[in-house]
Structure formats: structure tokens, C-alpha cells
Symmetry: C2
Subunit: 872 residues, 2 copies
């Protein structure tokens, strides 16, 4: 079969599905022809030819050239013009097209086939020598740029600086010859093959490569090249070139938006040399008096009809590129329009209401990330901004506020009524209340799942992490952005106002206007559809009553992870926790535990009351104890004083608890084994809370989750402890509650011995963050220095802390699912790591047959959508 | 079938193999009867009865009691005496016996059946009332202790303090009644069942439990109880009781050693109330004038004959317990004798030479650990010592020296001619040269595979780690051992001499005499046999020419792990390394790399020259870079000065490089990806070294190993780098060398993607230390706080850093072996972690089908033996 696909109105070999072979452009042109929308005839060289080109020492094989010549001959027949003819030549456009839109990355050249003689003849024919000369100049410049990598701006300048058109032509040709080392090709065929080569070459350009890597595409995929007969928008008042969106790309409203350059060509429109017309009268007019609707009503009506036809056919909001030649409308390209999150939501829902698409399609048309972005205030895209640094966009939304450098200041200033942004090298659990007080958090270190990032997302605070451009100096309370080139460093002092954009990673000096999200009915409608189609349950990670309320508001079906340690970080409780850790005698410890019990029980009562009949999974204490102790010698001295202990002793104890690798340290279930009283207290607090509510007639679903389990006997010991405590509470309180017990699967060994663990568990909850750290041997706190390089080099397809690494972590999860269910067919399975809200990871969870995911409250809605999409 | 096994000379139901059912005692008595060695008749209650006892509320079931009565009746018939008879009663011994010897942990009572009346009658019969009264007293005391937990010493004292024998009897009985809450049982049957109960109970005593846990035995195994008719060594000059070793337990020489108490019973011999006779005239006499050989020549001849018969039968050196009654010899028990490492070696080899056993048996009779102990100087067991603290025995051998508290002092003092022991909280790679200079290393923290332990073993230095009894104060240069009870703390200052015993973990004040090992011919013979039977190759981990020489001397068949970073820690080189890390410009880095190249090449030339045609596996740089930078601000300032950099900058750089979890940080292959020049330099150094030698006619086998690999593409990139560098060197040096390339499998993901890695590797080397850390989520540096509890609670069968965890780590290894070999059938597989020298792990390696293990040079011989044992 041939690798050249011809198309002309009413007839085409390919169709819209063949993007991998024909590129998005080639496929959509074939489709347009198939459905009878008028477009100039042409043909597409497939991605297969691109591959041949690269394997044939970057040459088109002779057989391909012959086929191209035959296809050109067919075009000549269809248009009645001859390629290379001197009087009324056939001109063509040559465009590279990948299977997805790669804005600005690939090369296109229009007006191929033009030379000096032909330009003159065309000028005479259309009675507009100026327009054709201008066309010719633009062609030389575009060709020089595309094929020989010349500087387009320089060439354009040359034209405008020249004394007259002839002088400009001479200069252009001279510069071209000098740079290219050969004269400008007068032969139409030479031009054509040169342009095709340039189209293929652009697939390997640095720009295209960056795009490919970022979007997970492979060099081997190749690019298609579409050759199409030119029509001319530039020779009459009833001619022009335009680009329109079938709906408003910002709001999603059903109204045409776009620009039309009367008496111009598409490349001129993009270059913006003249002010174009708006399409409708409702559209803002910038310095022009009319619109296509008013000035060219007949054409406008035709455009509206074509737009409706195309929307109905492609069942989506579209971007349409068109040319009008002497009142004749040609569609040159059409593709799904890029749109804002807000527009995506509205369009998806509207199209269903209009009977154009169905619910399933609507769900597939809105990205979960877009839903999430709708939930956070965003920088007003119209507002001016000066970014001084850029980090990782860790938690979406924008925040402005005065810079503070520690959690205490953040709390203090907020109480005093100021809005602040907390800036740290990195955050620790001690900073949580400060992070909560602040509008946003900026850190110099850490990755997308560093402590700062995770906590900020959980709190719904915008956050930029790993901003290695900044140098934080806590002593002077400043941060510095070293100058890049000659200019002086930017110094930001405490109290200076900055704005961070958690959706882009930008750090901006001063305040930038933000826009608040409005969810409304479309959101409710779409998420309602999502719930109809998804099977995977979505729970939230929530540690406080407030978290639980937010989670419920976003439709969480339970709490999948309630981290009890966060309850201990509250300032009034951390002292008790420290007292517990530093206690020397058993009776002291018992006394402190007695003090902590009612606090913990109170938290649970509140959370269980909010969640009612929805499951609440409480994780027993997980972090290593040293996380609760202060770091600085000053704080140690204060603590010693507060507890009436010798400072030296406190320091010794702190030093003794310190760990080389806290991630792999004395934490999780290991605390429960070495210090059972602590877990007992926590279990008792939860059971007592549930019993208390039961007596009031409120049935709850408490669940207990043991973190960092690695062995059967370990779980057996802790299970016994839990069951005995539950029994004791039921005796003490004269009430019985059912508490389910599960294991967190977060060390590789747990996945491997899942059969033994499954027999002792009601559920498994995958702690995919830690499982990723252990399986890959990568600390998420330290990964910033190399993980980027690993993703860039294609060693890891994606950041494994964002998307579950299927080959490694995924395989361990598969073992755990298979082995766990083999031992216990009713075993419930879920994810409670950060991956719970990642679209790809949700899809993987569906594939694995998990029962639920649990994510930050603010991500619940997005996860519900993602779960539905995965099910479709 | 009955659960009571009777035995009498010439006839027995059981045999020596039935230790699990009959206990070691019961089984060996049955065996003695089977082979016709004279022993009094008796019967054994099996471990099954023990289980019944515990499941029947700690009572003997009635059916068992009936059977016991029948067995007693049979004994009465065989001996012609009656149990409980008042004139010439049958007395029996009641002894608990587990399947292995548990010295001192289990209970035995002899002379059961004795009461006041019988004692008198016996005294009259043997014309020795004093002896029988004494017997009676000892019986009351022994019974009180065994059955009622009374204090034996107190009871004995009571006897010696009493005015006369009758008074003693009265007092004993009174104290007994008071303590036991009942009168001393006069009934023989009551005594018997009481003693049997005590025997079973002793299985659950704390002493027995500790022993069980330490030896991996289970409570459910139960203990047997052997009842045997008494014979009397106490009633004539041609009577007595003795214990002998068939060979010298210290040296292994073929000569009887042991003690014989003339006119005495076995319990008296053990109590040491009178000075016993030596067996032979050659044996030292302590305060006695004769020996059994001289004084009782006929009996001695009989003993020699029995000893030879038993050695030949059991094919081992034995410990024999015997009683002589009126010139009649009875063997009461025989078992394999406990022996020193030196004796174990000699006996194993001698028995083969004497034609008693074969080579295979000899190999199974010497533990690899014993071989290792032979290689280090040990504390003279005769010397007095006062242990002030105890830690983990991390590296065998003993060392005495003045205490120093940092590596620099260790080097300095050693240069000044002093022997020192380095005491630290923990050691870091910077301390290596100090550790090498010191005689031994003592640390307050860390486990059996902590940095200190690993390095010390590698260096062959004795080492005690995790000695949590001590408090190190670097400022005052002292360490303190807090007092346990009232007394004052022990303070050890810099310069004080201590001795550490790396085989026991003891820390001793002052110097203790040591004995040096002598290997000799037996060693060579045994290891020669080992090499004949093993299939697994044994290489050594060696980082320096000296290591390589030691390794070769111990028979290493190559170097399986040459850690290049250790080459950089040398004082004269670490500065260059630091310069490299701190360099700001590319050209600076290149300059330093040029400086490092010849140093590294020089190391390789030396090592390759030593190893010649044996493989040398070089691991590319592995540790995170911050390990090369100084910690203290002082050192930072010095470094900045040395490099002419601003101190602030150096500090910033150091802080920026610091990691939360260095174990999971920017290290291994990740350095190679982000900093290819460094790996290039290392590969070049190795290749140039090999080429240089090749030109001199020396063929070598260099191998390159990439650490911490986790993904196919990562290995592909580094493989390309290595191959290109090799090619470049071969062009530059006009010589070609073959360099094999392998991946370290030390993160779980690597094991899971082993198929992809296998296709790119000549070999896999399991880094089982790191693989264990990641698979279990346990940092070996921090595990000290809970790993002990995990092993004690049976959660982990053994310390996973000592013995490979089969269920977790082992399963990952199995994946890697299967998948790697599937992709590459010629893939070579080895272990280079600390596990390479652990006997059980070596057995597992054989099971997995690995090709080699690599261990510390000093462990090579032990590993060779272990590999042979695993093959048998």
C-alpha cells in the first residue's frame, strides 16, 4: 500500500482516527473531505515516510519522490493549475503534523512553488503586484527559516528597511544565498522537497524533543507531512484568513471567538502585522470598525453553518482555521480547542445538554486536573506579573502575602490580621500550624511530594517547592535570588509581599490580582455523572474535623487516612507528647498517656460525628519519636525548663533518638511493638469515641490501620493488642462497636508476605509514597537533586511520586493484591498515598481491582472524575 | 503406641537419632543400650508427654501415671529392688533432656525414692550411715530446689551449720515444709511425679527460654524426661562418679581429660565439695596424689576401652558421664563434647586420619564461625577480667589499648607508638583510617552491620558496637558507664587502657592477656577438603592492595567488591575529592579529575597485579557526595582556607548536599547519571591500569559494577558510557582489554526489572545489605532501637543484616535470578554484601544457584567451609 494519502472534497482515503499515521492535520483534513466540508485538495506523507527519511540518511527515497510527483500531478488536474508554472502556478502549503498538537514546535511553509517570475505573473493576474511581492518575500523568509534555520526576524526587518520592493527582493536573495551556501531554489520541486525535509527535521528539533519528553511521546513515532493546494485570502476584499474558536475558550460560553484578517494570508494573521477583524459584533473590537458578522454577513452565515456542522460531527468545541477566497469559504484545519478549566467544564456539560455528546464523552473531555484547578483561587491571567524565580507547582492556586520565615511568625502575623507566605528551606511537621495560618508556602528544597507539598495540598494551601533559585537566610530573615547575568541579586526581606502561583511554580514580586473559583451547576452535573459510572470509591485523607468537613463537602465517601500524629503537633499537645517521650519512669509515661487519651478521644468523637456512617480509617502513630522533639539548643533548654528536667538529659535523649535515615527508622508498627502502651491508648481513644456516639444512637464505622507492617508475627502481636483493647473498652463502657483492622502495605516485604498479612487483615491500604521510596531506594525529600534528570533522560517515564511506577511499585502492589486476596477473599483494598489523586494512578488502581483511593480533601472531586474516566 | 521408651543394656526401643522425641539424654542412653554399653536400666517420657502435661493444666495425665508405674515395676524386676522399699530401695534419677544440650537450664534430681527410713537402712547395708545421711540431705535440698524453687545454697549452708546430722535433717525438713507449704514427701511415688513435673516445668523457665530464643528452638518442641535406676559411686573405695572428655577440649589432642570423684556421686562432683582425681597421670593434679590411671588401673583400662568404643560408634569426640559401683563401670550419659575452635579443627581432621570419620563428616563438624575465630587474637580464657559494659560482638578477636575519641588522635597516637582503642558514638567513612590505626573500635550505637562493624570486619579489627551502656562525651573526652545500683558511675578517660572482646561484646577495664591464633596443617587440610566439595566460588571484598593480599592469602578466588570510595578517603586524596565537589566551574572539575585519575589508576595497577588472572570487580563511586565533606564548622573553615574559597560558600554547598535519608539519596548510579565525568574517570583509570599491565604481559580480569541501579535505561546510559570509555582507552593506549560490566541488585525495583537489566549485564552482584534495608524499610544504622525486640519476639527469625531474610529479600533475589537468567543465560550471579560470609546465607546462595559470594578477607576461609557444608 502507498504511504501517501490523498484527499479532496467528498473523497479521502484516511479519516479522523488515523492521527498516528497522518498526524492530527492530515487526519482532520481527510475527515473534512469525507464529510463534504470544503477544503483545498492535497495529500499527506505518513509518519512511515518520516521513519524512512531518517533511516535513509535523511533523504526522501526515490520511490517516495515519484509518488509525490504523481500526487502533485493529480492536484494540478483538480485545480487546473500547474506546479512551477510561470503564469498561474499551483502553490501548496507544506505542514508537519504530529498525532497531537505541538504548538510552535513543528515547521510549516506556505506558498511553496512561488518564484520571482510566478510572483510577477500572479500579481498581474490578481491586479495586485504589491500583495504578491509581499507573498514572495514572506515565502523566501519562511523557507530560509524552515529549511536553513535562518533568523526570521532578521529577514523580515531587512524587507521593511529596504528602499523598495525590488531592492528588498535582491537583499533577501543575497542574504539567503550567503547563509544557505546556495542560491534560493527557483524550481518548485526543489522547494517542495526542501520543505518536506524541513517538516521531518523539525520532529527532531530541541523544541519538539522537549515537548515529546514532557508528553511521553517517542522519537520513533515520527511526524506526518501534509501538502495542500493554496487558496488565496489576500487578493480581494471578499477574501481573508481566519482562526476561530467555536465557543469562548475562557468561559465556555457558546459564542464564536476569533480573528479574521481581511485580504491576508494565514501566516500574516499569525505574525500580527495588521489588526484583524473580530468574527462577531459582540466580540471586542481593537481599533477596527466592523466584524465579519457585520462586514461580510453572507460569509459569516456560512461560517456559522460550517462551525455547527463541525461541532456536531466532531462532538466537541473546536478551533477552526479557514481561508476565504473571493467569497468562497475553505476550512484549512480543525481540531479540538484548547480551553480553560472553566470552559472545559461548561462545554462538556453544554454539549450533552445540546444533544451533541453523551455523558461518557463529557467525562472524558474534562481532565481531573482541570477540576482541581477550579477549586483554588488563581492568578488573574490578565494581571501583569514579574516572576523572579520558579519552583515546582506543588499545590495549585495562587497566594499573596508578606514573607515570613518561620511558623511562629506565620501564626503571629496572621493573628494580627496580615496575610503571609511562609518561606522555608523545607518544612517539618512542626511547621504545620504555621503552614495552615499562611496563605501559601514556598520552599527552596523538596519535590512534588515533599512534606511541604503534601501538607499544603492537604490544607488546600497553594505551594511552590524545590525552588532552588532562592537562597534562604533565616538569621537575616531574607531570601535572595542570585542574579543570572550581570544585574544585582534580588533580595526579599521579611514583610515584603510576594505572590506564588502553585499552578505554575512562579514566584512573583508584589501582589497579583487573583480570581476566585465559581463551581456552580455544571460542576455538580459533571461530578454527578462521574459518580454514576465509577466503581472505585473515593475517600479523603483527613486529620482534623475541619479536614473531614471539607472532604465531605467534596463528596468523600469516607476517610481513608486519618494521621493521628498531626493531632499531637498542636502546640498545646506537643508538650505532653514530649513529656511522654522524655519520661524516665513507667508511671510517668502512664500519667502522660492518661492525659493524652481524652484529647485524642475528643478528636475522634468530632471526626466520627461528622463522617457518621462513612468509614474512618485511623492510622496508629507513624513518625519516629524524634520528630516531636525540638531541634535547636534554645528550644531544648525551654523544654527542659518546662518539664523540670536537666537540659543535658533532654539533649542526650534527643541525640539518642536521632536517626541517620528516619524514613527507615524506628517508626510505624515498630513503635507499637516496642511501646505497646501508646498504641493501646490510641485504640482505646477511638473505641471509646465510637462507644460514646453509639450510646447517643450514632452508628459509626471506625477502622484501625497499622503502619509500616513488614511481617506476619508483627501484625499478629498488634492485632492481639487491638482486639484486647477493644474488648476491654466494650466491658468498661457497656457498649460494643465493630472496629475493622487493616495493614498498611508500604514496605516491599509486606507486599511479598501479603498472603500471611491478608489472613490477619480486614483491609490493606497501600502507602504508595513510602512503598515508592523503598522500592526505588529514593527518598522523596532528597530526590530533587536527580529525579528531574531521571525523568528528562527517560529513565523513569514520570515522577514516581506523582504517578505510580507500574514496573516496580506496581508489580509489588499486584503481588499484594493477588496474595492478600488469596488468603482473604473479602479483603478490602485501597490506596492512601498521594497517588490517590493522580489520574494515571487511579486508572492503575481500577486495573488492579482496588476498592478505593483516598486523597487530599481538595482532590476528592478530581479523583471522582478520574475514577469514572478509568471505568469508561 | 506408648510414649514411654524403656531401655536396658542390650535392648532399647529408641536410638541416637530420636533426640526430638527422647531428648539428647534419652536418645543417647537408648543408643548405649543398643550397642551393649553398660548403663543402668530406665525409661524416657517423650516430649509428647511434656506437651500433654502443659495442655492438661500442668498435670501428668492418669494414663501416663499408670504407664510410669508399670515402667517402675519393670525396673524393680531388673534391679531386684523395690521402689519405696524401706530396707534396700530402688532409687532413680529424673532428668529433663532437650534435643540439644542446654547446660544449666534444665532440671535433674537424683536419688529419687529416698526417705529417712530408707536412708537409714541403706546406711546400714553399706555400712556407711554418714554417706547415706549426706545423700539424703542432698536429695532434700535438690528436690526443694527443683520442685519448689528453693535456694539450694541456703539449704546446703543449713546442713553444714547444723550441730549434727540429725539436727540438720530436722532443720532441712522444717525449712522445706515452711517454704513448700507441705511436708517433705516421704512417698517415693510422690517424689517421682514431683520430680517429673519439675523436669517439664524447667522447659518454661526464663533460663531455658533465653536459651531457646538464642538457638531458634520453639516452646512447642517440649522436653523429654529420663528416669534411670541409680547406681552408687559413694559406698566404697572402688566406687565413684566421673565426667571425661575423650580428647582435650582446648587443644583437640587425643588424650583423656576429666575428673573422677572417688566414693562420691555425680551431683557431688558437680558441686565441687571435694577435690576429684584426674583420670590420667599426665593430667595436672590439683592437691591430690594420684589419678584413676594409677589408683584404679583396671577401671581405667575399662574406661579407655569404653571411650574408644564410643568414639568409634559416635564418630566424634565425646563427653562421657560415668559411675563406678564397686569396680563395675556404668556409663550414664554421653554426648558430643563442647570444644574450642582450635580443638574442633584438630579433632575433625584427626578423626579422618584415624579412619573414624570421612572428609564430609569432618567438614560438617567444624562451624565456619569457629574457623573465623581462629583467625583473630583472642582473650586468654585463663586471664582475669572485669567487664564494665557489654555491646554487640561485631568483629571477633580481642584488642587492648588506650582510649581515644577521634580518628585523628588514633592515627597520631599510633604513630607515636601507642596501641589505642577508638571509642565513638558511631563511625563515619571519615574515620576509616583512624579505625585502621586503632587496635579495636568501640561504639555506643549501631548494629552488627553498622558502618563500624562492617569496616572493622573488613579491616580485621576487633569491634564492639551498639554498647548502649556507655555515654560518650567528646568534649570532655571521657566515656561513662552509669552505675546500675547505688554505686558510683565508672568514668573512663582518654588514655585509660581498656580491652574489648569482639567475640563476646565485653568491654573490660585495663589490659587482658590475649592469645594469638596458630593455624597450621589442620587448617590447610580441612579447607582443602572444603574446596573439594564446594561449587560456590568465594571472593573477597577488598579496597586496597593490602586487603587484596590478605584475601589472596585466605584463598579468595577474586575480588567481588572493590569500593572505590575508600580510595578517596585517604587523607591526601580527600582534599582533591572535596575540591571536585566544591568546584564551581566545569574546567575546575576537569582539572581535579585529571589529578585523581593517576591516583586511582595507581591503586588499580597494584590490586590487579596482586590478583593477576583472578576477577576484580570494581564498584563505581557509590556514597552520596556529602560524605566526603567535613561536618564541623571548624573543619569547614579549614577546608575553605585550603581551597581558597569563602567559608560561607563551602558551608552553603555542604548544607545543600545534606540529605534527610542519605541511604535513599543521591548516590550510586545516580551520581553516574548526573555527573558522568566522574564515572568516566574511574572507568578510564581501571582500563588504563589493565592496559598498562597487559603491555607488561600480565593478563587481568577487571570488572565494572554499577551500584544502585534501578531501571533499564539508567543501566543502558551508563553501559554506553563505560563501553565508549573502554574503546577510547584502547585507542589511546594501543591495547585492548576485556572488561565485564554488571549491575548491583540492591534496590527492590532492580530485582523486579531484572529481565531488562539482565540483557545489559555480564553479571549481577546482590548488594544484600542495601537490598535488606530497602525491602524491609529498615536502616541498619538506626535498627538498634527495635531490631533486637523484633528478633526476641520472633517477628524476624534472625537479624536480617546477618542472615538473609528468605521470605522478603530472598524472594526478591529469586525474582532477580529467574528473570535475569531468562534474559541472559550466561549471567553470572554473586553476593557482595556482608551476608556473603554468613553460613545460612551461603547455604541460601547455593540453593538459589548463585556462582559466588564475596566477603571480608578475614572471612574467606570460613566462607569456603560454609560453601562446602552447604553443598554437602
Amino acid at each position: 500500500m502507498t504511504d501517501i494519502y490523498r484527499f479532496s472534497p467528498g473523497t479521502a482515503v484516511g479519516d479522523a482516527t488515523m492521527t498516528a499515521l497522518l498526524g492530527l492535520k492530515g487526519a482532520s483534513l481527510a475527515e473534512l473531505c469525507r464529510i463534504g466540508v470544503k477544503t483545498p485538495p492535497g495529500f499527506t506523507l505518513t509518519t512511515e515516510i518520516c521513519k524512512q527519511y531518517f533511516t535513509s540518511r535523511r533523504q526522501l527515497p526515490e520511490a517516495v519522490k515519484t509518488e509525490v510527483r504523481q500526487a502533485i500531478a493529480a492536484l494540478e488536474q483538480q485545480t487546473g493549475k500547474r506546479f512551477g508554472d510561470a503564469s498561474d502556478p499551483l502553490l501548496v502549503s507544506v505542514r508537519a503534523g504530529a498525532k497531537v498538537a505541538m504548538p510552535g514546535a513543528l515547521k510549516s511553509v506556505i506558498n511553496v512553488g512561488l518564484n520571482e517570475k510566478a510572483a510577477r505573473a500572479l500579481g498581474k493576474k490578481h491586479n495586485d503586484p504589491e500583495a504578491t511581492t509581499n507573498m514572495y518575500h514572506r515565502f523566501i523568509a519562511a523557507y530560509g527559516e524552515a529549511v536553513y534555520g535562518m533568523d526570521r526576524d532578521e529577514l523580515d526587518e531587512l524587507c521593511s528597511a529596504a528602499a523598495d520592493d525590488d531592492a528588498a527582493t535582491l537583499q533577501l536573495l543575497a542574504v539567503f544565498a550567503k547563509h544557505a551556501g546556495r542560491a534560493f531554489p527557483e524550481s518548485a520541486e526543489d522547494q517542495l522537497f526542501g520543505a518536506i525535509g524541513a517538516a521531518f527535521e523539525s520532529w527532531r528539533s530541541p523544541k519538539a524533543e522537549r515537548f515529546r519528553v514532557a508528553n511521553g511521546m517517542h522519537e520513533d513515532d515520527g511526524v506526518a507531512c501534509t501538502i495542500q493546494a493554496m487558496v488565496y485570502g489576500c487578493f480581494s476584499e471578499t477574501s481573508g484568513a481566519g482562526v476561530l474558536f467555536t465557543r469562548d475558550a475562557n468561559t465556555g460560553d457558546k459564542r464564536i471567538r476569533g480573528e479574521f484578517l481581511q485580504k491576508g494570508q494565514g501566516d500574516e494573521l499569525r505574525q500580527g502585522v495588521r489588526t484583524p477583524l473580530p468574527f462577531t459584533k459582540a466580540q471586542p473590537k481593537f481599533g477596527v470598525q466592523t466584524s465579519v458578522e457585520e462586514g461580510l454577513p453572507k460569509i459569516f452565515a456560512e461560517i456559522v453553518a460550517v462551525k455547527d456542522k463541525l461541532e456536531a460531527h466532531f462532538r466537541d468545541m473546536l478551533e477552526i482555521e479557514l481561508t476565504v477566497e473571493n467569497g468562497e469559504l475553505y476550512v484549512l484545519q480543525t481540531r479540538a480547542a484548547t480551553r480553560s478549566p472553566r470552559a472545559a467544564l461548561k462545554v462538556a456539560v453544554d454539549l450533552v445538554k445540546e444533544g451533541i455528546t453523551d455523558e461518557r464523552t463529557a467525562l472524558l473531555r474534562v481532565e481531573p486536573d482541570q477540576i482541581e484547578k477550579l477549586l483554588h483561587p488563581n492568578l488573574d491571567p490578565e494581571a501583569k506579573r514579574r516572576a523572579i524565580a520558579k519552583g515546582l507547582p506543588a499545590s495549585p492556586g495562587a497566594a499573596s502575602g508578606a514573607v515570613v520565615f518561620n511558623a511562629e511568625d506565620a501564626i503571629h502575623q496572621t493573628k494580627a490580621g496580615r496575610r503571609v507566605v511562609l518561606v522555608r528551606n523545607e518544612t517539618t511537621p512542626e511547621d504545620i500550624h504555621g503552614m495552615n495560618a499562611a496563605q501559601g508556602v514556598l520552599t527552596a528544597r523538596g519535590g512534588m511530594t515533599s512534606h511541604s507539598a503534601v501538607v499544603a495540598r492537604g490544607l488546600g494551601r497553594s505551594c511552590v517547592v524545590g525552588c532552588s533559585d532562592i537562597r534562604v537566610d533565616y538569621n537575616q530573615k531574607i531570601f535572595t535570588v542570585p542574579a543570572k547575568d550581570g544585574s544585582s541579586d534580588t533580595v526579599v526581606r521579611e514583610g515584603d509581599v510576594i505572590t506564588i502561583d502553585g499552578s505554575t511554580g512562579e514566584v512573583i514580586l508584589g501582589e497579583v490580582r487573583t480570581v476566585m473559583p465559581q463551581l456552580g451547576d455544571d460542576f455538580t452535573t459533571l461530578i454527578g455523572w462521574a459518580d454514576k459510572y465509577r466503581k472505585l470509591a473515593v475517600r479523603a485523607n483527613a486529620d482534623t474535623p475541619k479536614d473531614a468537613e471539607v472532604a465531605l463537602a467534596f463528596g468523600a465517601e469516607g476517610i481513608g487516612l486519618c494521621r493521628t500524629e498531626h493531632m499531637f503537633y498542636r502546640p498545646e499537645r506537643v508538650l505532653a507528647m514530649r513529656e511522654l517521650i522524655l519520661a524516665r519512669e513507667d508511671h510517668e509515661r502512664k500519667a502522660v498517656l492518661k492525659k493524652l487519651l481524652p484529647m485524642q478521644r475528643g478528636d475522634f468523637v468530632q471526626i466520627l460525628t461528622i463522617m457518621r456512617d462513612k468509614p474512618v480509617t485511623v492510622r496508629l502513630l507513624d513518625p519516629p519519636l524524634h520528630e516531636f522533639l525540638p531541634n535547636s539548643d534554645e528550644e531544648v533548654a525551654d523544654l527542659a525548663k518546662a518539664l523540670g528536667m536537666p537540659t543535658k538529659l533532654v539533649r542526650q535523649k534527643r541525640d539518642a533518638l536521632r536517626e541517620m535515615n528516619p524514613m527507615l527508622g524506628h517508626r510505624g508498627a515498630r513503635l507499637g511493638i516496642t511501646w505497646p502502651e501508646l498504641y493501646q491508648m490510641q485504640v482505646r481513644a477511638l473505641c471509646e469515641a465510637a462507644c460514646e456516639l453509639k450510646k447517643k444512637g450514632i452508628e459509626t464505622k471506625p477502622e484501625i490501620m497499622v503502619p509500616l507492617v513488614m511481617a506476619r508475627e508483627e501484625l499478629a502481636i498488634l492485632r492481639k493488642l487491638v482486639l484486647e483493647t477493644i474488648e476491654q473498652v466494650s466491658i468498661d463502657m457497656h457498649a460494643e462497636v465493630k472496629v475493622r483492622l487493616g495493614a498498611m502495605i508500604e514496605v516491599p516485604r509486606a507486599a511479598l508476605v501479603a498472603k500471611e498479612l491478608g489472613a490477619l487483615s480486614d483491609f490493606f491500604s497501600f502507602g504508595t509514597n513510602d512503598l515508592t521510596q523503598a522500592a526505588l531506594g529514593v527518598s522523596r525529600d532528597d530526590a530533587g537533586k536527580f529525579l528531574g534528570a531521571y525523568v528528562d533522560a527517560g529513565i523513569l517515564e514520570r515522577d514516581p511520586f506523582v504517578t505510580i511506577d507500574r514496573e516496580g511499585v506496581g508489580e509489588l502492589m499486584r503481588f499484594a493484591v493477588e496474595r492478600g486476596r488469596a488468603a482473604n477473599p473479602t479483603l478490602e483494598l485501597g490506596i492512601c498515598g498521594e497517588h490517590g489523586s493522580d489520574t494515571r494512578s487511579i486508572a492503575f488502581s481500577v486495573e488492579l481491582g482496588l476498592d478505593y483511593v483516598s486523597c487530599s480533601p481538595y482532590r476528592v472531586a478530581a479523583a471522582r472524575l478520574a475514577a469514572a474516566r478509568a471505568a469508561l
